[in-house]
């Protein structure tokens, strides 16, 4: 079965509709797009996860 790149693009594109106006959050004089806010939230989550999740050491590790 052959799936064209257009089909794959449409499949992923249907997950989040980006063909509209951007969404923004207003908080006083602060205005930020939801997309940027999501990225910042993801960075905070990954930062905390990087500190908390144990790192599997190589077999030769001593410490």
């Amino acid at each position: 079965m052959q799936i064209s790149i257009t089909t794959i693009g449409a499949l992923f594109g249907s997950l989040i509709n980006l063909n509209g106006n951007g969404h923004y959050v207003h908080w006083g004089f602060i205005q930020i797009s939801v997309a940027n806010l999501v990225v910042i939230a993801l960075m905070v989550v990954v930062f905390i996860a990087a500190i908390l999740i144990p790192f599997r050491r190589h077999g030769g590790g001593e410490g």
Binding site: I5, A50, I51, G61, E62, G63
Partner: protein, 258 residues
């Protein structure tokens, strides 16, 4: 510089061709470079045990993303705007360029947060911290000029919005964001050159000074590893735990990971 086929080792400088060559600038520069960064320190096989944490991974992830950014940027430069806007492969490479920049900044910001909370400028690492910060600022400029170089309505919108901001700083006369030719030269030549040089210095400094250890935990924990201002590894009591004057080297009692 003397050129000779004689290759005998010199007692003064084993790497110099002849003893009298040891005072030449090339021999002195080579000795200084090798003493500061011997090959095993420049490309080590093992790291100190405290590096076994995910937070230490984001520096190299940023470097990996930068490699993809530069590689895809080179492909875009070869084929040009019509190709990256019209052809399927061009759109794909254009997307790779954009998303690798997203990953680059994502990882760089987490790297920056991690190093900030570790106070990574400790132990004579001020230059490492400063080159990282300057690299971040230059990268913002590179991304900005990249958005201006897209050759679409988005870049037109951004440039017309940005010109007022740039003009208000007084820099608009020399840095004209509506001048595509100027912006693309900044984007593909000047700023990438700055970033590559700064990243190179940054990585060499990391190898020279070593990866910053975490703060010692409260109490005299045997696992507590820290450094004093002189760059010496110390325990939680602040007393030197080893005769280590080379933070880049692996400390025997700290354990290592490969």
């Amino acid at each position: 510089m003397t050129v000779d086929t004689h290759t005998g080792a010199s007692p003064v400088d084993p790497s110099a061709d002849r003893p009298e060559d040891a005072d030449q600038w090339s021999a002195r520069l080579r000795r200084t470079a090798v003493e500061a960064l011997p090959p095993q320190k420049l490309l080590p096989d093992r790291q100190p045990a405290y590096v076994a944490s995910w937070i230490y991974v984001f520096g190299v992830l940023t470097l990996a993303a930068l490699v993809v950014v530069i590689a895809t940027g080179c492909v875009l430069a070869i084929f040009g705007p019509t190709w990256w806007h019209v052809s399927t492969v061009g759109l794909f490479v254009n997307s790779l360029h954009l998303w690798s920049v997203e990953v680059f900044f994502f990882c760089m910001v987490i790297h920056l947060w991690g190093k900030f909370f570790m106070a990574a400028w400790r132990g004579r690492r001020r230059a490492t911290w400063i080159t990282g910060v300057v690299c971040f600022v230059v990268s913002v400029g590179a991304a900005f000029t990249g958005y201006l170089s897209q050759q679409n309505f988005d870049s037109q919108w951004i440039s017309t919005q940005a010109k007022d901001g740039i003009n208000s700083t007084g820099a608009g006369a020399v840095f004209n964001v509506t001048n595509f030719g100027q912006m693309i030269m900044w984007h593909i030549m000047l700023l990438p050159l700055c970033i590559v040089v700064l990243v190179g210095i940054h990585v060499l400094l990391v190898r020279l000074r070593g990866v910053v250890p975490p703060f010692a935990p409260p109490g005299d924990s045997p696992g507590g590893i820290s450094e004093n201002d002189a760059g010496h590894l110390v325990g939680a009591t602040g007393r030197a735990t080893a005769t280590d004057t080379n933070p880049g080297a692996v400390r025997p009692d700290a354990g290592t990971v490969s």
